[in-house]
Amino acid sequence: MASSFKNRAPLLTWFATSMVVLWLLIAIGPFIWTVWGSFKVQGDFFSKADWRNAIYGVMTIVETGDSFTGDGYHGAWIEEEFWFNVLNTAVVVFFTVTISLTMGTLGGYALARSGFRYAFWLLILALIFRAMPHITLVSGYLLPFFEWNVWGKLSTTIVVLVAINQPFTLWMLHSFFLNIPKDMDESAMVDGCTRFQAFRHVIIPVMWPGVITTGLFSFLLAYNDFAITSMLLSSENQTMVPRIASFLGSVREQGNVMFAVAAVVSAIVPLFFLVLFFQRQIVSGLTAGAVKG
């Protein structure tokens, strides 16, 4: 919208701005509150007496002598060995993203260039599988995994996550490759390249924006997943999110809720930086489907 014809009505501007500020408070307030509170003791974060205790850390000073404490983090990362779960998450996420991008680029390119009818049915299947709740697929996987004795391993989880992620990467990269003009690889093939050479020398140099956007969403899927990782990983081998869920059961009794709070904050930090650096790609990825449709 061109701003030239906007004769600003002060009341409306004031109203719109205050609404946005209110939304920002709702959107980001809980995060700030929890990050701040994670450096306090439980008596402050869950303060019966006065909510302002959580801000000034009255109980924290009484218990530790300082208004900030890293006890929650120490407890979570060292005593509860949360670092191991972080490593597991890193492994699962890295391999899921790498494998699904490799297969997604090749498959998406093939589907975008294929003129056959079955390409459409593959895409429809992908759409249906994408819409299904992830956990409905797990119920089919579990029994064979027990029988083959591959349950509880990171590699099994990676395979399932790739499978669940694949419809999405296929759709996204398929529509992305459709936007790359056919002429480019066709002219390369006229010049004597094979199909694969055309892909390597012509398409790969221009495909990175789409691949990065798709990679971001694959990362989010693998990182944020709870249904699959909690079902398929044994308790010694968990990634971060199911571990946090199982923290809840155990720490309630021991009164160590702050361990869980610290673990939650630790899990948010990578996402925070992800949004910070890749905001433009995330926005473009979210709107890609909408603008196209």
Binding site: L127, P133, L137, L142, V283, G293
Partner: protein, 302 residues
């Protein structure tokens, strides 16, 4: 079951043991692992046709009937899933549009940070996001304690009553999904043709009329896209129920499957039946989109 006298060196005690002969006879007449046909689908934990007709014939008012149906686990989960989906999706649409309109008026400098902040609730792991809110509405957390103060009721707990738990989950859903609608609408607002807006203004349309008659129709395809994504997401609602520990008050279809598979009693058949029913629901809701994709594909001229 038979009673057996176990005589130790000091005393005799009577214990009830499984009778091996009787068990064998029972196996003979009703073997385990028999082909079950569609009985898993129709038993009490799923579609429950017998119970439904039973409730229908015994209950006198419609309210009784609904109440009885609500006590069946599958229908209970279906009620919640549908309520959640059909309350969250429209609220998200309206809220997202207004926030997008508001952000669009902001000076260029603060737009970037605003979008950054707005993205967070959506990007953060659903389980973690729901935990953060859960700790805030805890009886000792900031919102929970404040609500107790406002209503002057120290026993008020959002977790204890079913309606409040539902409201809490739905508010979480709106909080989690609004950023998506906002981002899509905001991107759409950048492409609204300014000629049309100016023409409307010259014709004397007020600010509200311009939104109502120019921007909203222009946004309609985007709204349908968001609605569709929200329907898909709403039908798979699961993590917040675990995060809010709300399973006693509200269950969803996904949560039933999870519950069947989790722990030691692995009810594969039951979980698979619920999965299939869920998939059928998803397919029914998706049919319009599939038809549209079919048309698009044909238009591509292949």
């Amino acid at each position: 079951m038979i009673e057996v006298e176990n005589c130790g060196p000091f005393k005799c005690e009577t214990v009830i043991q499984a009778d091996p002969d009787a068990t064998a006879a029972l196996r003979e007449s009703a073997p385990l692992g028999k082909y079950n046909a569609l009985k898993t689908y129709t038993n009490r934990n799923h579609l429950a046709f017998d119970e439904l007709s039973d409730i229908w014939s015994t209950s006198e008012t419609l309210f009784d009937f609904v109440n009885g149906v609500y006590n069946l686990p599958f229908y209970k989960a279906l009620f919640f899933t549908l309520t959640y989906t059909f309350l969250v999706a429209p609220s998200v649409l309206i809220l997202g549009l207004f926030i997008a309109l508001g952000v669009n008026r902001l000076p260029q400098l603060v737009k970037g940070p605003t979008i950054f902040a707005s993205l967070l609730p959506m990007i953060v792991t659903p389980l973690i996001g729901s935990l953060i809110l859960f700790w805030m509405v805890d009886a000792d957390g900031i919102i929970g304690a404040t609500l107790q103060l406002i209503f002057d009721n120290p026993d008020l707990s959002l977790k204890a009553s079913a309606p409040l738990t539902w409201i809490m989950l739905i508010i979480y859903g709106i909080w989690h999904s609004t950023p998506f609608a906002f981002v899509v609408f905001y991107a759409g607002l950048q492409t609204v043709p300014s000629d049309t807006l100016e023409a409307a203004q010259i014709d004397g349309a007020s600010r509200w009329q311009r939104v109502r008659f120019v921007i909203v129709p222009y946004m309609m395809p985007l709204a349908i896209f968001i609605l569709l994504m929200q329907l898909m997401d709403g039908l798979r609602v699961f993590e917040p129920i675990v995060g809010f520990s709300a399973s006693a008050k509200a269950t969803s279809l996904s949560w039933i499957i999870f519950n069947d598979l989790f722990g030691n009693a692995k009810l594969y058949g039951s979980a698979a039946a619920t999965s299939m029913l869920t998939i059928i629901f998803v397919c029914i809701i998706l049919t319009p989109v599939l038809i549209r994709t079919w048309r698009d594909f044909n238009r591509k001229g292949i």
